[in-house]
Amino acid sequence: MRKTQRLFAIAGAACVALSSALLFTACADGEEKQVLRIYNWEDYICNENDEEAGYVDLVAAFEEAYGCEVEYSTFGTNENMYNELKINEGSYDLVCPSDYMIMKMINEDMCEPFTEDFKTNSSYAENVSPYIREIFEENGWDDYAVGYMWGTMGFMYNPAASDTIAEDVQSWKVLENEAYYKKATLKDSVRDTYFYALACVYNDELAALADEYESGDMTAEEYNDELNVIMNRTDEDTVEAARQYLRDVKKNIYGFEVDSGKNDMVTGKIDINFCWSGDAAYGIYEASEEDGSSLAYSVPDYVSNIWFDGWVIPKGGNVELAEAFLDFISTPEHAMMNMDYIGYTSVLAGDEIYTDWVLDSYEVAEEGARLQELIDSGDVREYDLGYFFSDDPDTDEYTFYAYAEDKSGMLGAQYPEYGVVTRCAVMQFFEEDANNRINMMWEDVKGAEIPIPAVIFIAVIVVALGGAYLVAKYGYDWFRGKPKKGYTKVDDDK
């Protein structure tokens, strides 16, 4: 009886504690603040106040401006994000997946469409680059997704590593080159490295296509469509060829990384790093800050990957608040803060960004005769970003003079020229069959063989231990050593 009393007492106390806790939260709710739940990549928004650098914590600033609360959480891979959305449906208002994941989510009907009002009348609609808008419209993402950051893939390299490295990295196949044995890295990420493998496996076909385009037989659009077809092949033969290629090239490279590569470039452990343009911008900047050494970025010939990260509103999300947030971060001022903080390039264009960001960082300061001199010597050249900043493809309003070697391709990493983006393919998401095939290919590539010396070593240990045991057990007399002075041996087992 007393036992049950005690139990009741405990249960009662627990109930009181619990209900008072509930009461408390209910009170807090009573004040009614709207909550925006954002799910973003790690380190992918400016959320630090730093007056010196001109940063504002955008999340906190938004909370203040709109009188709402932001629950901000982060993820590390698209797949983790996707799983989280599947497990906790309706627990986020705004997420930031990559291009192929956006396609997958749209395909699976996981997203709320943006309102007409937002699509026509918001700082995003006003500022988004026409080039990006067109890609989103072409692929039918514009109803459900809003761009955030974009870029290309290429090689970050150390120009001091060899005399020919600048030409060598113009080919994707440079990683086969024994001159760079154990000096280059690939991405430890199946999609990016698969793309890399395709660029190598179909190198000849892509070269022929580029010739055809250059000879003027096809338009830029046709050329780009062809590229997209080649770079999205997932049939068995292609995957097998990719597997073989990657297994071969693995023997020549330093390793796979997703995060350490840019630092390894800066510290000089490696000379070539297959990377996203944003990481290259970061690496180039860090290296020059650290010891004044210069790294460079270039997009190899024939093909590259153009990628985007964008915002989508998962089903059941608070559309109104999500749109308000996107409107808030899409002003030129905030976009530049973000670019500065993250190092990636925003999909937003607009004259303010062109003047305050592009021209401010890259335009040649020299004027008049001195400028002409530089142009004549080939140190300075025209750089045309009309395709990104303007609706009119023929405009030269967005053409400026930049150093040909400007900041080792920093400009090219942030804003590739039109010639580069025409040879960039968007990577679609893989159908389930193809996805499994490519995953298994990847597992096979990443798997290492058991090293033979290690096996021999283990065998020797096992034999030695076994031998020692046998000696201890049977050859015991011989092994036990001499008895001390003044003692004689006895058969101790008897």
């Binding site: 330093y254 798997g447 001390k484």
Partner: protein
């Protein structure tokens, strides 16, 4: 006025809840996922497909082999290095042994990811990084797990009765004989405990193989991670976890971890776990 008296049983409730939530339920979930598949509607059905796939896939078996190889060599070197250290610490008459012991234990208080990151730079300076992926991985693992080997050995050696050694000496045994027939058998519980403490974690500690082997080596821990976070296949991931559990049980069985021998191992405090 109610007075609270907790019986022993009631005091156990929090622990029981903890174990259920964080050990038993997760294990059951792993078991559930390992032997099920998912149809198009997301319904689970019983299947051995994952099991069969694991044992028919070259790359998976290879990874299992690589993990076992690395774990074996790591354990061997830990034992070789730790035994003399533990012996000196426990048996020498030196008064400052406590300080020495501390020196070996102090690194354990630092996060091992940090230690491995630091080790990476060191290996780079001596030119190993990038060239000897396996060697680096083993070095990293030994560095990480050495304290786990030293501690149980130290415990069992320290608690050894000195009079036994004196008796052996009295009866005419030389130092080699004494070591082989008195010290070694008496420290066996410590050795076995150390082996279990080192062998299992070094099969899955993929931070080491990633950082020091530049991701050129895939071990089982990494493979599980890939299945959960990249391949989006929790079923295969769970199955690999089950295989690891089975290996744990086998090592415990072999090393006598299940033996309820009060006067042998546990009384000596050699079993850390």
């Amino acid at each position: 006025m109610v007075r609270f008296h907790f019986s022993r049983k009631q005091l156990c409730i929090p622990y029981a809840v903890f174990l259920a939530l964080f050990v038993i339920i997760p294990m059951l979930l792993i078991l559930l996922y390992a032997f099920t598949g998912e149809d198009a509607d997301g319904n689970l059905y019983f299947s051995f497909a994952n099991f069969l796939e694991f044992f028919s896939s070259t790359s998976k078996l290879q990874t299992l082999g690589v993990s076992l190889t690395i774990a074996f060599i790591t354990t061997f070197f830990c034992l070789i290095i730790a035994y003399p250290v533990a012996y000196i610490l426990a048996r020498s008459g030196w008064k400052r042994t406590n300080v020495l012991l501390m020196l070996f234990i102090v690194p354990m208080w630092l996060n091992f990811v940090l230690r491995i990151t630091a080790l990476r730079e060191l290996l780079n300076i001596i030119g190993f990084l990038g060239n000897y992926d396996y060697v680096n991985t083993v070095i990293g693992m030994v560095y990480d797990f050495l304290p786990f080997m030293i501690l149980p050995l130290y415990n069992s050696l320290q608690k050894m009765d000195n009079s036994l050694l004196e008796a052996a000496n009295d009866l005419g045994a030389g130092p080699v004989h004494t070591f082989l027939h008195v010290t070694l058998p008496l420290s066996m519980p410590g050795i076995l405990s150390g082996i279990t403490m080192v062998f299992m974690p070094s099969m899955t500690n993929y931070v080491v193989s990633e950082t020091l082997g530049n991701s050129n080596i895939t071990i089982l821990g990494k493979m599980i991670e890939e299945y959960f976070s990249t391949y989006d296949d929790m079923h295969m991931g769970s199955l690999i976890s089950i295989i690891l559990l089975v290996i744990i049980f086998i090592t415990m069985l072999v090393s006598g971890g299940f033996k309820q021998n009060a006067d042998e191992s546990s009384a000596r405090g050699a079993n850390l776990w």
